[in-house]
Amino acid sequence: MRVALTDAAARLLGQRSPGRISGRDLAREAGVNYGLIHHYFGSKQALLQEGLASLADSFAAGDPDGRWSSTEQFSVRHRPDYLHALAFASLAGQIGEVATIHPVAEASLADVARRRGGGEPDRGVRADVGLGIVFQLGYCLFEDLIVESLELEGDERTAVEERLRLVLRAILFNLDAGRAARGIRDGPAVSVRPVSGSGEPD
């Protein structure tokens, strides 16, 4: 019953704004009695938060068949339900209360910080990783529109997506995005402390 409710919340969160999901909607979607929401979760809000958290966890776990991993660039495109839930919650200004992006964001922070010289992620790293997430979410949410409007198909689409990966890399490492769009793969920015070994971002 508890899982049925969490799953129902996850499904509905991908379809509409959290403020437009009622307790009755959740009970109906889960096929359980309305009273169980309060029994298990205390409030509708708490159930919605668990629903969002479960979406985040299942996204972070990646594809069950191993075709993609959540740490890949633009991987959120594989989970439109999660992407849409994030968009709805963000548009409603209700995301701050839930640690939705954290499993993946934390991994990304640690990874970028390591490649940028190790140590705790500083303010610049956090700002860049945050912007990198925004960039990926923005691209994936509008991907169909962008692809149609730019008439991207075949090899050209592949080539443009390759450039966008370079742009994302430029964002994460605070490099020149314009040069990345040209296909130039810069080394770490001057401000980045050089490290020995595998310090080259990729």
Binding site: D128, L137, S149, G178, R179, A181, R182
Partner: protein, 196 residues
């Protein structure tokens, strides 16, 4: 008097039509097209429900017309009629403007309200083509896609994912500063200059 055909002069009739379009935009700032009924539109506009069908045929047609008008206005205002790139500061503007775009992108039955293409991107293609006629199309398209992802993504996801979202409680300003830098460098790379 319930039949507006020929009984009211245009200046009395058209305001109801525009009221419906404006109402559609206010509702689209909060929800997706499929969550908006004809009665919602009429109620929000303060007009008779019958006018939805009279002016537009169906509520989907109201939403389609409103979204078209919305996107054309974006090009008109933010891009000054399609003569310049979207300034990075536009992302700080009225959030509802971008929320409309977001909710249209979120529409599960997409063809309903979305146009096939996005006028902002079409305008970008034209100005980039003019500014850098001999450039590499892959570079142009990548730069446009990246600018659009940043500029449209920020109003929806930015504050939540950088500031309040906990990645960096004090970092929203810095993320935004970085966004400006990146948009500018993308712009310059396709010949749009930095004096915009």
């Amino acid at each position: 008097m319930s039949d507006p055909v020929g009984t009211e002069p245009p200046d009395r009739v058209q305001p109801s039509r525009q009221a419906l379009l404006d109402a559609a935009l206010r509702l689209l700032a909060d929800r997706t097209p499929s969550e908006i009924s004809g009665r919602d539109l009429a109620g929000e506009a303060g007009v008779n429900y019958g006018l939805v069908h009279y002016y537009f045929g169906s509520k989907d047609d109201v939403l389609r017309a409103a979204s078209t008008q919305h996107m054309e206005r974006l090009v008109e205002t933010v891009m000054e009629g399609g003569t310049r790139a979207v300034p990075a500061d536009a992302v700080m503007g009225d959030r509802a403007v971008w929320a409309v775009t977001g909710h249209m992108a979120l529409e599960p039955t997409r063809p309903l309200a979305l146009r096939e293409t996005f006028p902002v991107i079409e305008a970008y293609r034209r100005i980039v083509e003019r500014a850098d006629p001999d450039g590499d199309p892959v570079h142009h398209k990548a730069a446009i896609a990246a600018m659009v992802a940043l500029l449209v993504g920020w109003p929806i996801f930015g504050p939540q994912n950088t500031g309040n979202g906990g990645l960096d409680p004090e970092g929203e300003g810095l993320s935004l500063a970085r966004l400006r830098d990146h948009v500018l460098s993308l712009q310059v790379s396709v010949g749009l200059g930095d004096a915009m």
